[in-house]
Subunit: 332 residues, 2 copies
DNA sequence: CTGTTAGCGCGTTCAT
DNA sequence: ATGAACGCGCTAACAG
């Protein structure tokens, strides 16, 4: 007996009430007699009735779904962000519709477009897009928040203080006596990468330290390793490296060691993000509370969806300097 | 001018055609004159029309969305699985609706229930649930596949040969001359964990090696470390450890070293999964092609959704032994 | 090739 | 407290 799924009408018939009563009972309205409600519930149970989500959306024009548009993220960063978002969403009865796009702005646009009508709100992370590009892509009429990218004036943004984080990492290098510093930056198109570079440079300037070495990495392990090898091959001298993120730092670490340099004795090294690998490798870094950011963003998004709240003040999550072996004499 | 979104009727009016023609043009039907199609496309562009997904679903009874139900996964395993799935899905015009549930079977049931009517098919990973439990939870009428868990007879399953993987890891330990082996198992309720333990034991038996030590871990770093500390405290002797997964192995590695034991000289160590950490720590392991599994599962699911295909033969993805420093004399 | 129209399943007035 | 009826936006069957 694989009959088609029961509809609200089947339930109404079986409970001997009208569809309106079933709907009311279902949505917990007050004006339903206990007796009626029980009969409805019984019928629902008998028929294994499950409301059709599409019909519900069409008629109520809300989906109880949130769209999440992410760049081509890897590893722990991705999973932590989703974990934070999913937790906040499911606690509030929302589901997450996912779209992991690639760097191309055009794809970003498509990703956002296909979500229209399927979600009540949108959380977008697009560090490679400018503020204006994001503004152009986001549908006017739909609530939206931005996560870890250039803050918008029109939408709440959940960000971190990249400059301060990078500056404090740099000050730490200076504080342990390193003077000839180097920075391996992230992709030029990436907002966070640019901010971190700025933070590094301003800390150097503020301390009156010698002009630093700056190379352009790609947020990846290979990029970090390549830059370091180049420097070393050119005979550059440096005793402290601040990398744009942990993966870059890890690449740098391997290149340094492959060249016979000791870390931290010869060169101190610090990254950014605090991915789990960092802890295991004893890499000093700046911790980004990714899951918290995701949760905060979704929490706010749900508030916007349910109560039309506006407001666009960026919410800045605190960073934390995590000191480990690569900037300390002792092993972790 | 923040008017309500344009509907198909607005488009029809502006293009001076009927809604049916708009629908046909939209869905790429052949029987539309070029002239008509152009006018429709023009109107769509003018009005920034985007079809309402809910209405479309209701009327066509398909959502172009796939549900993904996952356990409380961490790190790279999670992100790789999603990456593989999302790639396969988006290439075919499908979106992923996510639900990360917790171990509780009741929650699993809820997670699946809320997806009814919102997705065309379901991909479920539930290693902590029995075959029967999953069968009971999965809606009869909806296409579904299972990923990395006890294979069902009713649905295609995408699995790995845990026993053979564990056995080959164990044989490798034996082959490099280790005889007093130990196994740190995963949670007893987990299907893959049980299979891996079996694989370990049968390899031991087949080789006629001495009775091994077996401890119950939890797939986590702490569990692995705890078991090793216990063994060491009790004065147990062993020269090779096969851990149920990489995180467990990493915990074991740290406990071993903290106790002054050298790896692999004193104790050889091998894990399972090949998460990125494994490579960085030089941990030997068994590689599970997580992204490929996810992609294959979704690919098959889409086929089932679009063409009612049946079939329930488990698809077994190949594993690969990855040898690194923790089972070899030399560093990686 | 094109237009008219009847549902799809549900929420929600409006009467009663 | 309950029921009848309309409309949400779209697809598809049917007429022309």
């Amino acid at each position: 007996m694989k009959s088609r799924p029961a509809t609200i009408r089947d339930v109404a018939r079986r409970a001997k009430v009208s569809v309106a009563s079933v709907s009311r009972a279902l949505n917990g309205h007050k004006n339903v007699r206990d007796d009626t409600r029980d009969r409805v519930l019984q019928a629902i149970d008998d028929l294994h009735y499950v409301p059709n989500a599409a019909a519900r959306s069409l008629s109520s024009s809300q989906t109880r779904t949130l769209g999440v548009v992410l760049p081509d993220l890897h590893g722990e960063f991705f999973s932590e962000l989703i974990r934070g978002m999913d937790k906040a969403a499911s606690e509030r009865g929302y589901l997450l519709l996912l779209s992991t796009m690639h760097a191309d702005p055009q794809l970003a646009g498509q990703a956002i477009a296909v979500m229209r009508g399927r979600v009540d709100g949108l959380a977008v992370m697009a560090p490679q897009l400018s503020r204006d590009a994001i503004d152009r892509l986001m549908p006017e009429e739909m609530p939206g928040v931005q996560v870890i990218c250039q803050p918008s004036k029109k939408r709440p943004s959940f960000i971190i203080d990249n400059r301060e984080g990078a500056a404090s990492a740099t000050r730490h290098l200076l504080a342990i006596g390193r003077r000839r510093l180097a920075h391996i930056a992230g992709p030029e198109g990436n907002f966070d990468a640019r901010e971190r570079r700025q933070g590094f440079l301003s800390a150097i300037a503020a301390a009156g330290a010698p002009a630093p070495l700056v190379g352009a990495g790609d947020f990846g392990e290979d990029g970090g390793a390549r830059i370091v090898r180049d420097w070393l091959a050119r005979g550059e001298r440096f005793d402290g490296v601040m990398a744009a993120n942990d993966m870059t730092a890890i690449g740098a670490l391997e290149a340094l060691r492959a060249h016979g340099l000791r870390v931290p004795e010869d060169v101190a090294l610090i990254g950014f993000d605090d991915i789990p690998l960092a802890r295991h490798l004893g890499l000093s870094t700046v911790r980004v509370p990714v899951a918290d950011i995701g949760a905060a963003a979704v929490e706010r998004l749900v508030a916007m969806v349910t109560s039309q709240e506006a407001g666009a003040t960026p919410e800045v999550q605190p960073l934390e300097l995590v000191l480990r072996a690569t900037t300390q004499g002792r092993p972790h």
